[in-house]
Symmetry: C2
Subunit: 463 residues, 2 copies
Amino acid sequence: MAKSWATLGVDLHVEPTGSGVRKGLTDALREAVRGGRLAPGTRLPSSRSLAADLGIARNTVADAYADLVAEGWLTARQGSGTQVAERTVAPQGPEPAQRRREPSGPAYDLVPGSPDLASFPRTAWLKAARRALTDAPHEALGYGDPRGRPELRAALAGYLSRARGVRADPDRILVCSGFADALTLLGTVLRQRGLRSVAVESYGLDAHWNLLHRSGLRTTPLPFDELGTDTRDMGGARAVLLTPAHQFPMGVPLHPDRRAAVVDWARRTGGLVLEDDYDGEFRYDRQPVGALQGLDPDHVIHMGTASKSLAPGLRLGWLVLPPSLVNEVVSLRAGGGWSTGVLDQLTLAEFITSGAYDRHVRAARLRYRRRRDALVAALAARAPAVRATGIAAGLHAVLQLPPGTERSVVQATAWHGLAVHGLARHRHPDASVPPLDALVVGYGTPPDHAWSGALDALCRALP
Amino acid sequence: MAKSWATLGVDLHVEPTGSGVRKGLTDALREAVRGGRLAPGTRLPSSRSLAADLGIARNTVADAYADLVAEGWLTARQGSGTQVAERTVAPQGPEPAQRRREPSGPAYDLVPGSPDLASFPRTAWLKAARRALTDAPHEALGYGDPRGRPELRAALAGYLSRARGVRADPDRILVCSGFADALTLLGTVLRQRGLRSVAVESYGLDAHWNLLHRSGLRTTPLPFDELGTDTRDMGGARAVLLTPAHQFPMGVPLHPDRRAAVVDWARRTGGLVLEDDYDGEFRYDRQPVGALQGLDPDHVIHMGTASKSLAPGLRLGWLVLPPSLVNEVVSLRAGGGWSTGVLDQLTLAEFITSGAYDRHVRAARLRYRRRRDALVAALAARAPAVRATGIAAGLHAVLQLPPGTERSVVQATAWHGLAVHGLARHRHPDASVPPLDALVVGYGTPPDHAWSGALDALCRALP
């Protein structure tokens, strides 16, 4: 490797290899193109600008460029400057690693967890982004507050209070990068406090359990019955992770008595309830369930995201923390470098305060309710043996199957071009509840035009 | 707490407290306003829409609204609907926690680490955002590839190869949330591989050392002399964190012999070099230093961010990984939920490929070079005893002070309204190099119009 690792050009890093400025530059450029380091189509700096950067005569650069154009490595066209030629021969350098090719996926994706990405409100979002960036003070672009931008925390406090009954103070809100980030932060704090395990629901997402395991915590499942998760015997756990408004994946709300009981437990023992309010915005019945946090903001941590209401790709989530946890969580976040881009934060704040968020959620709710209704109607007509439950809210339904048939039905759905999960994969490995045979059908993911086709394929796969 | 925690209204969460629908709704709304849960200025849903959500008569809602308007809690105006009144009395509910007030800061911030936020290219960024979001496929808004968007990884591979001499393949690039996120990921992987310590430079950032400590690693400082950091005796460490292009904070590039030596060490022992290329774009001399990674992409991890070239608030950084590390780092990231919003990723990709990034960096380089020149001229004229070093590149300079004077000069700068760091705080606690007295002066942070004032205050504070 060359000792004199000189760089010719401020934006163009090349190694001159020979003697003589022109030859050195020509060789270095040729080598960079040959090796693939300068990709076909790359625009080179103007000869004037490169010469100035290198402190050499402009003609020397122009001559080197001309040599390489003559050799076919570069192309020069009036108006578009000098570019690396689009060669048809393969570069002689090492090939870039073969791009991974995904096997062709299923025709319809009914795995729960993602909203309809085709209905992301691009125009309204861009409008909010323009207004937010135009209005932002310069300091907003700096490292800033580890809790996130004050504009967003104020907007979230207003929204969560109004729409979800959360008792929210902007000072106790922490903006984070989606649910996984939030749960990792909380898991780390709980472990630092000396906790060894967290009680979880018998049914849930293994990805969430694994996040807690990575923080050094065990997960112990609680019993589950028709009233929801039973928190009467916590088995010594001092924290519990719940989906009170809409149990994932079973789809039922936690019974009012159970809600009261878990809050009583937390008060009596100083325990903490981690409330995963993942799809609280999407409720189709007339008695939707407010946030558990409203019952006891000192013991319940409210956790939400924009992943279901807008898009997971935004990576925007939030924690509403009890006063006793704020310092620990914020200093952990401050020490680790925080992670949510301020432009999206400012845009979401503008999106909420302008009313665009409410409008989007209302429109999405209507769309998903229609899908839900079509699912229920199709099942009644074509698969009357299958009972759909957990359908009052959210973006998925549970289709209860005859005992012993889950595995064969999941296989049949794959044959019909569907990606669907069976309930078994959402059952905690240590759960004591008797296994149920069911499909968990997400109806958020397919775009509108694909929904009737997906439904048809699903009905054909059902017993 | 009420057992029947019913929600009246899909976007409006209230608890009816009495009997009778109208009275229940009126009381619940009044309580929500009184307690501050519905903030002054909040727009309420139309009576039609709330009535539909609640399944009650529209007149009942209209009557409840009218009652509360009469009581002064709400206001109704033609065209703008019903809103919570802007009251002058304090709400009777618990006060929101007192907003923290920062003590008034110094007049001029010369702490290194932040670019000039006032020159963030807002218009060009918005233009790129519009194009990026308009062109993005729907699937881009989903959870996606834990390495980050392919558009950005391709753009970075081209840019880093062209401008920094990095051997970059998009498949080996991982987009992350700034340097802290990158170092935390790498620290975790090194710890998983069984490493117990990482060699670091005698001078650096304690925040970075602390990130490694949090991953369970010790940091052991290497000697430092006029050729830069001396890596000849690694003391058994199997990884080293370096700033080869522009040592932070001393400002010197690593000598070519030392560059060769550390790569030889890595090859001989299977060691890893973590290359922190934090301000590689900003070089003012004619022999800028290319990325060390170009010498040995199998043993050097290239780490960069947009925090100095654009703004820290973007939280955009990247790792170029050796092939042997890709799977470990990517699976760690995939398991933890990744953290960088796709919209900013797509926007940066568009910003780079359109040439806007090059234009911005060139303009910024010119601006910083002028500041640097003004600093050097002012020191020569007004503080000839102070020698500025490390000025060939970057956004900061080291002002060498007479022995024993650093502490008093730092105090004097504070008296003159400046925030400046002494070199002592950047010295590793276990470093064996003799302490030097110096100031580390960042010239990126002040906006252009404040620079001459900052310089003047600095010269007055110097001996």
